[in-house]
Assembly symmetry: C2
Homo-oligomer: 499 residues x 2
C-alpha cells in the first residue's frame, strides 16, 4: 500500500516555483467560492509518519490559502470533559461550519493507530474503531461534507536518514521532536496497523491519499493539487446534489391497526393512587440519581408526543425529584443559523450529559423523522438515512454508559381538541398554542404513520421506545417516572454482572 510512496518522488525547485503561484491563486478562488456557496464544509485529516511533513503541510496550506477560513484542530490527550462523554464527542465539538475548512491534526485515525501500536487494546477494538470511523465519515459525507484523508509517508530508511541528518546538524537538531524518537522505535508496527486501517477505510466517498514526504516540493504540490481538484469538483457538482428529486415514500396505511391505535387509552390513575405512586417513584428516582453507581452512567430522557400530550407536565414531575444542579432540560426548537451550518446531529451532541448528569430533551433528534418528514423540511433521502444515523448515535451513547429512555406521549384526537381549547382560555397558557399546532392537528394521519415508522425503525433492544397512554395525565406521569427508574436499575444490575 505504501510502496509507491517510498520510491523517491521529487520535484525540482524551478518547476515548484513556476507552479506554486497559479496553484495558490486557484486555491484561494476555490476557498472563496466555498465560502460563498456555504453549502458544505471541507474536512482534512492529516496522518502518517512523524517527520514526513504533516506539520509543514498544515503551515503551508495556511500560508497559501486565506487562514481566516481555515481552522486547525489538534487532538492529543483527552481532557476529563472529553473522557466523561462518548469518544466521538470531542470531534463533533470541533466540526467546521459549512463554507469553511477544518484541518484535523491528530484525529480518530491517530487515536486508533497509536492505541493499537502501544498495546492499549487488541485487534477487535481496532476493528470497532474502524467501523465507527466509517460510520462517522459516511454520515458527514451524506450531510454534504468533503473529506480529504492524507497519509504522509516515509520509508524506514528515509526516516532514519532524516533523523541522522538532523542530529548531525547542531543548528537544526531541535527540530527532532519526542514523537520522532518514539516512532523510530515503533515504525514497523505503526506502518503495519496504518496499512490495515487505510485499506479498510478508503472509500469512494472519502478516499485516502498517500503522499511521499521526503521531498518538500513534491509533497506540497501534491497535497495542494489534490485539495484543489477535490474542491473544484465538489463546488461544481454541488448544485445537482443539493436538490434530490422529491419522491413520495410514505407507506400507505393498509389497515387501521397500528402501534398507536392499539394502545389502551382508557388507562388511568385516581388522585390518591397517583399521589402515592408519584411520590414513591420520585423518592426512588432521587435515590437512584444519588446512587454511587450513577457515577458510571448518565441519563438521557427523550420526550416526544402529540401536541398537548403533557410533555411539559411530565418533565416537571421528573425534575421535581431532583436538584436543578443534577439535570438540564433542553427544549428543541427550529435550528439556529449556527446549527444549520453543522451536520444535523451536531446540536444534540453538544447537549449530551457528562457522566453522572441527566439531560431531558423536550423534543429531540427525532424531529427529523417526525415534523421534518411530514412538513417536507428535509428531503426523503435525508430523513430515511436519519433512522440508521440515529440508531448509530444512540448506540454510541449507550456504549459510553449513558442510559437512554425515549417516550412517545400519545393522546387521542378528542383529548387534544379539549386541551387546545382549554389552553386558549388561559392567558398565560396561550403562548403554548399556536397556529402551527392547529395545522399539525390536520395532519394527524401523516404523523401517525411517521410515529409508527419511527418506532419500528428505532426501537432497539438497547434503546427501546416507551409508548405512554397519556389521555390521563396521572397515569402518564407515573409511567414515565417508573420507566426511568427501571432503566436505571437495570443498568446498575448489569454493572454488577459485568464485574
Amino acid at each position: 500500500m505504501f510502496e509507491s510512496a517510498e520510491i523517491g518522488h521529487a520535484i525540482d525547485k524551478e518547476t515548484y516555483d513556476a507552479e506554486v503561484p497559479a496553484l495558490r491563486e486557484a486555491l484561494l478562488e476555490a476557498q472563496y467560492e466555498l465560502q460563498k456557496q456555504a453549502r458544505f464544509p471541507v474536512i482534512v485529516l492529516i496522518n502518517g509518519i512523524e517527520g514526513a511533513g504533516k506539520g509543514e503541510t498544515i503551515k503551508l496550506l495556511s500560508e497559501w490559502m486565506d487562514p481566516r477560513l481555515i481552522e486547525v484542530r489538534s487532538f492529543d490527550q483527552q481532557t476529563d470533559e472529553e473522557l466523561a462523554h462518548p469518544p466521538a464527542w470531542r470531534y463533533w465539538r470541533q466540526l467546521p461550519a459549512k463554507g469553511r475548512m477544518g484541518i484535523f491534526f491528530g484525529n480518530w485515525y491517530s487515536q486508533m493507530i497509536q492505541g493499537r501500536v502501544h498495546g492499549e487494546f487488541k485487534d477487535a477494538r481496532l476493528d470497532q474503531a474502524i467501523n465507527s470511523a466509517e460510520r462517522l465519515e459516511k454520515m458527514l459525507v451524506d450531510e454534504g461534507a468533503l473529506i480529504f484523508k492524507f497519509w504522509f509517508h516515509l520509508s524506514k530508511k528515509q526516516m532514519k536518514a532524516r533523523l541522522k541528518a538532523l542530529e548531525d546538524d547542531p543548528l537544526h537538531s531541535w527540530r527532532i521532536s519526542p514523537l520522532d524518537w518514539q516512532q523510530s522505535k515503533t515504525y514497523d508496527k505503526f506502518v503495519r496497523y496504518g496499512e490495515r486501517v487505510l485499506r479498510r477505510t478508503s472509500h469512494d466517498y472519502a478516499p485516502w491519499y498517500v503522499i511521499e514526504g521526503v521531498d518538500p516540493h513534491y509533497r506540497s504540490l501534491t497535497a495542494g493539487r489534490l485539495l484543489l481538484q477535490g474542491m473544484q469538483v465538489a463546488l461544481a457538482n454541488g448544485k445537482a446534489k443539493e436538490e434530490p428529486a422529491p419522491f413520495e415514500s410514505q407507506a400507505p396505511i393498509t389497515d387501521e391497526l397500528s402501534l398507536l391505535t392499539s394502545l389502551d387509552m382508557t388507562l388511568h390513575l385516581d388522585k390518591d393512587d397517583y399521589e402515592e405512586q408519584l411520590i414513591t417513584e420520585q423518592a426512588r428516582f432521587s435515590g437512584n440519581m444519588r446512587d454511587k453507581r450513577m457515577q458510571r452512567h448518565s441519563l438521557v430522557a427523550v420526550f416526544e408526543g402529540n401536541d398537548a400530550a403533557g410533555k411539559g407536565g411530565a418533565i416537571r414531575r421528573v425534575a421535581a425529584a431532583l436538584d436543578p444542579r443534577q439535570y438540564a432540560i433542553v427544549p428543541i426548537a427550529a435550528p439556529t443559523e449556527d446549527e444549520r451550518a453543522k451536520p444535523y446531529l451536531w446540536r444534540f451532541w453538544r447537549q449530551i450529559p457528562a457522566r453522572g448528569k441527566f439531560t431531558v430533551f423536550d423534543r429531540s433528534w427525532y424531529g427529523r423523522v417526525l415534523v421534518e418528514r411530514v412538513e417536507g423540511f428535509c428531503s426523503p433521502t435525508d430523513w430515511m438515512r436519519a433512522y440508521s444515523e440515529i440508531n448509530d448515535f444512540e448506540e454510541q451513547l449507550i456504549d459510553a454508559g449513558i442510559v437512554v429512555v425515549k417516550f412517545w406521549l400519545a393522546i387521542d384526537e378528542k383529548t387534544q381538541l379539549e386541551r387546545f381549547e382549554a389552553r386558549e382560555e388561559v392567558p398565560f397558557k396561550r403562548f403554548k398554542i399556536t397556529d402551527d399546532d392547529w395545522r399539525n392537528r390536520k395532519k394527524w394521519p401523516q404523523y401517525r404513520t411517521a410515529v409508527n415508522d419511527m418506532v419500528d425503525r428505532t426501537s432497539t433492544e438497547i434503546a427501546p421506545w416507551t409508548l405512554v397512554e397519556a389521555n390521563d395525565k396521572h397515569w402518564s406521569r407515573v409511567k414515565v417516572l417508573r420507566t426511568i427508574n427501571e432503566a436505571l436499575e437495570a443498568a446498575f444490575a448489569k454493572d454488577r454482572k459485568s464485574k
Copy 2:
C-alpha cells in the same frame, strides 16, 4: 442584613392564586419583548441557604415563563478544562445571548463563600474574589446586561425546623440533600461570610435582593415580581441607553513627537545575521515551549500593527519553531452574529489557551480601541471603558499563569505604500489588499493617535507593549521571537523565586 428575611413573611393561598395568572402573563410578555428587542441578556444569580427554595424557584420560573428562552446553568466542581484556564473562563463560556435569560445556580458567589467557609482560603483571597466579581458585573452591565442577584434566606431556627419536619416524614425525607446536612453544621459561618459578600457587592447597577424562603407563596411571588419590575424598566429604558450622545474625544496632537514617530525606523539586519539569529531564537523558543516549566504556564501573543507591516510573516516565523499541535492561530475579523450577541470580550475568552498551550491572536481585543474607535463602529463610551476592561482581562490571564506578549508592528507611510503596490501585482497576494486598506491608509493620523492612547493606557508592567520597528522584516521577525523568549524565561525565573 438578613433581619428582614427572618420575620416570617407569608402570603395566603387565596392571594397567591389570585395574583399568579396576571404575573405569569406579564412575565411572558416581558420575555417576548426581551427576545424581540434582543438588546441585552438577563442574568439571574441564585444564592442563599440550602432549603430556602433556590431550586424550587428556578423550577417555578421555568414553568411560569417560556423555558425555550431560559438557560439554567449550574456550576459545581471545576472540570480540568476549567482548571486549566483563568477562573472566570467557566462563566464566560456560559453567558446567555442578548434577548435570553441565563439562570446561574452555583456561581461566582457560591464559589467564594463556600471556599471561605471551608477554609480553603483566607479573607484576603475572599476580598480578591469580591473585587473580581464586581469588575465582571460592572463590565456585563456596561455591555447592557440586566443582572438580578437573589439571596434566598432562612434563619437558623427555620432551617432546623425544616430539616426536622422532613426527617419525621418518611414520604418526604428523601428531599433532604447532602448539602442540607452540610449547611446545618456551617450555618453561622455561611451567613457571616454571605453577609460580608452581599454588603460589598450590592451596587445600584447590580443590587442584591434578599428573599425570605420559608413560605413558598411569598418567596415565589416576590422573586417573580422583582424579575418582572426589573425587566419592564430595562425594556422601557432601553432605547435611551442604546445610543449615547456622540462626542469627539480624540486628544489633539499637540506636537509631532509620539511613541511611534520616535521609533528608529532604520533598524535592520542583513541576510546572514538574520538567518543565524532567526534559527537561534527559533531553537530557543522550541526549547522553551518543551520546557517542563511551561506546563505551569501558557502563552498568548497579540499581533497588531499597520496594514502590511508583516504580521503574517512574523507569525509564520514564530510558528515555524513549533509543531502545529502546540499552538493555535486565531485571526480576528468582524464579529459574527453569535459573537455580537455576547459581551465584547466573549469571543476572545473562548480562545484563551489551556495550560501548556500557545495562542497567537492575529489582531485582537485591541480592535475596539483601534479600528472600532477610528471608524466609529462603537460609541466613545464603549471604547473608553475598553481600556480598563482590557487591563482587567489581561490581569486575569496573567494571574492564571499565562504569559502575555503584545506587539505593535510599525512601518512608515512610504513603506506601506510600496508594499500595497507590490501586493497588487501578485495574483495570489491580491486577497490581502482591499479597498479597506486604502481607506485606512488615509486615516493614518487618527490611527497614530489611537495607537499612542492604546499604548499609554494598556502597556502595564505585567503586560507591556513591544513596539517593533518593522520597515525591515528581518529586524522585526527576530525582535518578535526574542521578545517572546525573554518573556517566557522571565516567567520561568519568577516561578523559581516564588517557590
